[in-house]
Symmetry: C2
């Protein structure tokens, strides 16, 4: 081997170009009862094809956020997901193909995280099927960290996307019409907010080096899910303090107060182990408990990630009986499963 031969990035892959299709192939091989995969177009499709008369939900975006979105395809959640290259939007043809593949005659909801490329490409896909398939779109923009960012006009779409896919998916499974399911999705986005922080950067495989540099005692507060900068850098601190940095802006922005009920979602960025995420959840529970805000439901784990970045985000969703019931409804995907 020549001494100037390119170094392999220290990750589990064969060739850089095959990372996304091989990961999707593995998803389908591990869960043949839940999904099928089109590795030519990098689509994850619900096994068994479109459900006649059911509103179909599709989402998609850059890869590197797994299990989002492919791990959320299945009964009670998404009908399809379109995967782009790592941290890169899928192209409109992929969303168009996904839309056509899942249409069961009752319309298709596009769930789009607010990043310029995703928004534009989903919009183009909707135009490509206009007059043939009724498409409704909801754009998530729940990140309170920054108003505009490197990749967005307006707030970024992050953790609420997971909760929205579950809740709107349950409404569609229960027979909601396209306008009803869309209204539920809009409501979830309106009632949920998120913020995250990073302890380390991630390494995009094709780049081979960390996306940003962070000192041994520095934390990036308000990080985006692609390593884009946050609000500020802070000195490393006890997790109780770090949780406060995230929860306070969310509680304030949502206008939560004593007696309110929430779903509390503590999400790992990919490289933070569960032992730490549960410590962070304990911090969040103490903060909310001190303010008389009741955690009625919870989710803890790595669900919307940034490759192997270390850190966590907090998402709070204001609950009512309707949303709680839809959250509790059965779901059968690779990454979220209960009731079946």
């Amino acid at each position: 081997m020549a001494t100037n031969a390119p170094t392999r990035v220290k990750k589990l892959y064969n060739d850089l170009d095959d990372i996304v299709p091989e990961s999707l192939a593995g998803l389908a091989e591990a869960h043949p009862d839940i999904v099928t995969v089109d590795t030519a177009q990098n689509l994850v499709l619900r096994a068994g094809g479109p459900k006649r008369g059911k509103v179909a939900l599709i989402s998609g975006g850059g890869s590197g956020h797994e299990p989002l979105h492919g791990g959320f395809v299945g009964a009670g959640m998404l009908d399809a997901a379109a995967a782009g290259h790592v941290f890169t939007s899928p192209v409109p043809d992929q969303m168009e193909a996904a839309t056509r593949a899942v249409d069961g005659g009752a319309g298709v909801l596009h769930i789009v995280k607010n990043y310029t490329g995703d928004v534009l490409n989903f919009q183009l896909a909707a135009e490509l099927v206009a007059g043939q398939i009724e498409v409704s779109t909801v754009v998530t923009n729940d990140d309170v960290a920054v108003q505009d960012s490197l990749y967005t006009a307006g707030r970024r779409g992050v953790g609420v996307t997971v909760l929205l896919e579950k809740i709107a998916g349950a409404h569609a499974e229960a027979g909601g019409s396209l306008s009803e399911v869309t209204a539920t999705a809009i409501k979830v986005n309106a009632q949920g907010r998120s913020m995250g922080l990073a302890l380390t950067s991630c390494v995009v495989p094709a780049a081979g080096t960390p996306t940003f540099d962070l000192g041994a005692d520095e934390v990036e507060v308000g990080i985006g899910i692609h390593g884009e900068p946050g609000r500020r850098r802070e000195r490393l601190a006890p997790v109780d303090d770090m949780a406060e940095w995230l929860v306070s802006p969310i509680v304030s922005d949502l206008g939560l107060s004593r007696g309110d009920k929430v779903l509390a979602f503590v999400n790992g960025m990919g490289g933070t182990p569960l032992i730490e995420l549960y410590i962070a959840f304990h911090s969040v529970a103490k903060i909310l408990g001190g303010q008389g805000i009741a955690i009625e439901r919870s989710l803890v784990g790595n669900y919307i990630t940034s490759l192997e970045m270390a850190g966590f985000s907090v998402t709070l969703l204001r609950l009512d009986d309707s949303l709680t019931g839809l959250w509790d409804a059965p779901v059968h995907t690779a990454a979220l499963r209960w009731g079946v």
Copy 2:
């Protein structure tokens, strides 16, 4: 702050001494319907107390392997888990307390990973309740990497432990007697083998520095779950090759051949994101498919970890109808849930 003040380790925690109890507290707060926690003794107990007439299953060991074991407490799996400090065996008093807490009159199965401290301390606990509670013990020793290791006489207990807790737990839930459930547990251990590799070390919080050094292009093959050395060091390679390094010794040791059916478990060591684990699963599926070995069931994710270590392990369990049926039975824990 003095310039020689100790540096905080870059992890989510408050004080080093509180890592385990605060993580367990978070587990209980996130899943009050599934578990209660005794943070004085660091025990995770199935919510609703002992089930009269059901064989109870307990496990335990050092922390840092989450979700193992606390995340596997609940209906259809464990009745209790005892947590030691990070990578340190719990003391016999903890196992004794757990045994007394879960006894429903039908006996208690101790599930012990083969590490000298765990084996000794579970044995002492069993002696402490002798004559009062019938205890049976199964020691897992599924790691084909090394015969003896830094912390064991004989093979280490690793990934099979997860599968055993699920399958034996289902048998107990279905009304199996202590001897029947023990026989099932012994069978799972006998029919399962594992091997893992590390791309990076982990950092034990109290140590603050990596457990071992590994060059940028080096892989530790046959790693243990505490960062203890493996069989050999290799140059970083495509994941197809790395999967072969793990699958071949397992297939050979188990004597698997064309037509055999297995559960294939690709486990992350804590810091490897899901996008990579599914690529690794795809490699394993290709290797087994090429040998005519059928993957009947699968599990992919971070289930028995080494803090934030990057890498993966493969576990294969030879299936028959009985084991498959017990695997498919309902389970309701924080980390594994289906059918309920």
